[in-house]
Amino acid sequence: MMWLLLAAGVGVIIGLGSFTFSYGEGGSYFSSDPKSCVNCHIMREPYDAWQKASHHAFATCNDCHVPHDFVGKYLAKADNGFRHSKGFTLQDFHEPIRIKPRNARLVQENCIRCHEDITREITSHGSAGDPSNNCLRCHSTVGHR
């Protein structure tokens, strides 16, 4: 377990440390409070939209954007933490921000985690893993727009 936390920490530290970043914002990556995401103004838009979205009452950012097994959770956070910090510091990311394919799959897994029962039929005969027919195609706005 320790090595995992370490790995996560290292990710953020590399991301932040070398790009001069304040501790408060870096730490936000380990919290599940949505407000912690808005420490970066660049996350303001999804945050505002989330407040108006259907899932505001059911799911926070991390419920959808972070894997829910312990190992994956911290690895993902380290990786995303690194990229987001780097992006924020260097301002070198594509705008509008687009979810990365890997993170989109992750979100999809989270949809199914909560909605396993109702989607049983439609995920069992085809392949839910096939990204070409994913939940986001029809429901991309449930979290925010």
Binding site: T119, E121, I122, G126, S127
Partner: protein, 447 residues
């Protein structure tokens, strides 16, 4: 990926009966999948669809628009041509059309109007492709009445579960020889198909040598799930012709799916559907090119499949299933459109109406042009214009007829690709009017 799919396919439903390639009757499949069967059966339900009527035949297109009788003069379609309706009727409506009753038709017709694999398998001694070829060549009645060794009728059901699903995994699959041959010709050609990722990939693999000379593009193995959600419909909702004396059902896709590309193909192979009774022009007939027109549209480019709109998910009790009552999406705009388009139902219907009205207005204009062209050619012939002098008019007639028909016989009234439909009608008008001018000229020259 296939393996992954297989594994997932095995669980999650209560297997009441065992299914296999030999079980065609949807009622039996329905014991395992009652929700889907329920929808499937409701395709007999006409009440909520456009045109009403039940056991009787659906409304005649020829009565609704008498210009069509002249436009198709000399062809079976000028005798009987009706509206489509639900899948449950497909076999019945084919048996009852005057086009079958009054005219000689081949077994090829059954390919898209029945669950026909057992007949193909039987006729081919297990080889479906060979059986397909044999059945195509039979007279319609002979094919229709085929019986197996036990004397059981082989052609009994309209499209059935087994035509779109693998009985073991329940995965989508395509089974129709016409489609398999057609898509093969298409992927081997060089028409641009950026919205079909598995086609793009196959072509790459062929270039790199991973696909060997002679290897086929296998949709059931290569296509993404999302592609399959359109391909199953593309088995039947397509333009076709009967090739040669063997009446081999063929999809003319070698040069691409656009009307112009298909026309080019027909010209190259020298195909003609019929000779027009008034003008003796050698013409083509287009049939239900839904798949082709969808391919030109913005929805296809955005990865939106036929099933997304025509079989939208529907909540039944605690689960959501694909609505197997395949029908017009306008009957359930909320499910079919509103997950993607956050406008209210009235607004969405209004948008479809604007598109369809523009298409219908132009189609009417194009038909008028055709009719006036027919008059002019008739006049020229009466005045003794030479066949030679009328050749330009005949060529233009063929091109105009093809484009008008491509839009008229496409069943979405332009919705599947609004600007493309309008473009085709604009060209049709141009060709028809030019044919008229050529005829007037020919008449002048011979007077």
């Amino acid at each position: 990926n296939i393996v992954e799919r297989k594994q997932e396919g095995q669980s999650h439903y209560f297997e009441v009966v065992g299914l296999s390639e030999d079980v065609v009757d949807p009622e039996i499949w329905g014991r395992n999948f009652p929700r889907q069967y329920d929808g499937y059966r409701r395709t007999v339900d006409n009440e909520r669809s456009h045109h009403g009527g039940s056991e009787a035949l659906p409304p005649s297109k020829l009565e609704a628009d008498p210009r069509l009788r002249r436009i198709y003069a000399g062809y079976a379609f000028s005798v009987d041509y009706r509206e489509k309706r639900g899948h449950a009727f497909m076999l019945h409506d084919q048996e009852q059309t005057e086009r079958v009753k009054q005219f000689k038709q081949p077994g090829a017709c059954l390919h898209c109007h029945a669950s026909v694999l057992p007949a193909f398998r039987f006729a081919g001694n297990g080889d479906i492709m060979r059986g397909f070829e044999k059945v195509c060549a039979m007279p319609y009645a002979e094919a229709h009445d085929l019986v197996d060794a036990k004397g059981e009728r082989l052609v009994k059901h309209p499209v059935a579960c087994i035509d779109c699903h693998d009985p073991k995994s329940m995965q989508l699959r395509v089974t129709r020889p016409g489609f398999l041959n057609g898509i093969q010709a298409l992927v081997e050609g060089d028409a641009d198909l950026p919205h079909l990722p598995s086609v793009v990939q196959w072509r790459k693999d062929r270039k790199s040598g991973r696909v060997k000379e002679g290897d086929h593009y296998e949709p059931n193995v290569r296509a993404t799930r999302q592609e399959m959600r359109s391909f199953v419909c593309g088995q039947c909702h397509v333009e076709y012709y009967f090739k040669g004396t063997g009446k081999l059902l063929t999809y003319p896709w070698q040069k691409g799916l656009k009307a112009d590309q298909i026309e080019e193909y027909y010209s190259q192979v020298g195909f003609t559907d019929w000779v027009h009774a008034e003008t003796q022009g050698q013409l083509l007939k287009a049939q239900h090119p839904e798949f082709e027109m969808w391919n030109q549209g913005i929805h296809a480019r955005s990865g939106v499949a036929c099933a997304d709109c025509h079989m939208p998910y529907q909540r039944v009790g605690a689960v959501k299933v694909s609505d197997h009552q395949v029908r017009s999406p306008m009957l359930q705009v909320n499910r079919a459109c509103q997950t993607c388009h956050r406008f209210d139902e009235e607004e969405i219907k209004a948008r479809v109406e604007i598109i369809q009205n523009r298409t219908r207005d132009l189609a009417g204009r194009a038909e008028d042009a055709l009719i006036q062209m027919l008059d002019a050619i008739g006049e020229a012939r009466k005045n003794g214009a030479a066949a030679e002098g009328l050749k330009p008019a005949h060529d233009l007639h063929r091109r105009a007829q093809w484009r008008v028909d491509f839009v008229l016989s496409e069943n979405s009234s332009g919705f599947h690709s609004p600007q493309e439909a309008a473009r085709l009608l604009a060209e049709a008008i141009d060709f028809a009017r030019r044919a008229q001018i050529e005829a007037i000229r020919a008449a002048g020259n011979k007077k």
